[in-house]
């Protein structure tokens, strides 16, 4: 969807202002928020693509006025309501009961971890890959010239606006992964070939590129791409009309 998250190339968002000596979490609740989301994902209550798509549906004024973990909070509240896990009314009742913050700044690793804590630690160590096997051969190979499609679905899309209808070159084929458009909308894992595609800055930004020879690489799914030159186009033009 063309939401507030699609930031590449936007102007007017200000200077970067890095902090020095930045803590991992700025407030205890940020750590709880982070841990809660990742634990819920590990437990299979939600998946990351759903969370991303929920953040994307945040109203613009809230998105730009929120911190990272405030956006996560918005997403989880929305998703749990949509999934029928925690209704808005149930949450508001519980919020009203909160008398004190009850949040510690730091937590020790659990001495006798629950099954979920054990699983969380294993996933943290071993990862949780979303790569999939497929019998479908990849349509593109490294070196192929491609053009990104002009897509504007209201659903989850991992093709940024700044790179739509742009010509690039396939740099690598990474194999197949679960398509985010399927995963974010409850359709499970549909294998889709993923490519690293290289774009020249001049192609993306025209005369306003800082240096047209710089490159931007994007990781794009096959369904976002088409061949830049229609294979056999010339031949088809030469075909006599059907009798």
């Amino acid at each position: 969807m063309n939401g507030p998250h699609d930031l590449g190339g936007k102007h007017g968002l200000g200077p970067i202002n890095p902090e020095t000596e930045e803590p991992v979490f700025h407030h205890p609740w940020e750590g709880r928020m982070y841990g809660l989301a990742v634990a819920a994902m590990t437990g299979g209550v939600l998946i990351v693509d759903e969370q991303r798509h929920a953040v994307e549906r945040m109203p613009y004024s809230e998105y730009y006025g929120s911190s990272y973990y405030e956006r996560w909070l918005f997403a989880l509240e929305k998703l749990f309501d949509e999934k029928g896990i925690i209704s808005r009314e149930e949450l508001e009742r519980k919020v009203a009961e909160q008398k004190s913050a009850e949040c510690e700044a730091h937590y020790p690793a659990p001495a006798n971890p629950s099954a979920l804590a054990t699983k969380v630690m294993r996933v943290l160590r071993e990862g949780a890959s979303n790569s999939l096997e497929t019998d479908q051969a990849p349509e593109f190979r490294p070196g192929d010239k491609v053009i990104t499609k002009n897509l504007h679905p209201k659903t989850h899309l991992r093709l940024p606006s700044y790179a739509k209808s742009k010509v690039g070159v396939v740099e690598r084929h990474y194999g197949a992964f679960g398509h985010p458009g399927a995963r974010a909308h409850g359709r499970g894992n549909e294998p889709a070939h993923l490519y690293s595609v290289r774009f020249e800055a001049g192609e993306l930004w025209g005369p306003d590129a800082e240096d047209p020879r710089d490159f931007v690489y994007l990781d794009l799914f096959e369904s976002y791409l088409k061949p830049a030159e229609e294979k056999g186009a010339r031949k088809r033009h030469g075909c006599p009309p059907r009798a």
Partner: protein, 213 residues
Amino acid sequence: MGAHHEHRDEHEHSWAPPSEVEARVNALESLLVEKGLVEHDAVDALISAFENDVGPMNGARVVARAWVDPDFKRRLLEDATSAISELGYTGLRAEHLVALENTSETHHMVVCTLCSCYPWALLGLPPVWYKSPPYRSRAVSEPRTVLREFGLELGKECRIEVWDSSADIRYLVIPERPEGTEGMSEEELAGLVTRDSMIGVGRALSPSEARAD
């Protein structure tokens, strides 16, 4: 000391009334635990891991190894996922890793314009600026200006390659090894490798910068 009754050590409970956001996070956690969907100690375990064990020092050790061991560097550039597993750094959000080597001719930098994808297992959780609209909007369209804001002036002879990590792959930049580090041990070299240099918005520290740190 006695004047501020409400002030407690930060390791203890805070008895101030919760802010709106705190109350909401606490309520969400309580409800998920009541419903048997999450355990408090799973949340504790994640906080503890990122505050104590998982952070940019992991990536720094990978870079230092690449600086001292050409065979490891070759393996890292060919198949970073497999190479980091040799050092035990495989993990969440580094399941599919690509390493990018910065040289005097090519400078790589990493961004996620659509959310905040980042190699957690190698660099820990991303800094606020990495997750914020200014960096996410500008890194792809004006990387040279952005790098200048980080104190990095690159000439026209150096090509900038920006990696917008928009899917399942995570990226680690291998910064150039600083001059004057020939006699240093791998452990000492790891101390020169900053988080920012592995995102590609900084250089590794020189030995004198590291001493001043």
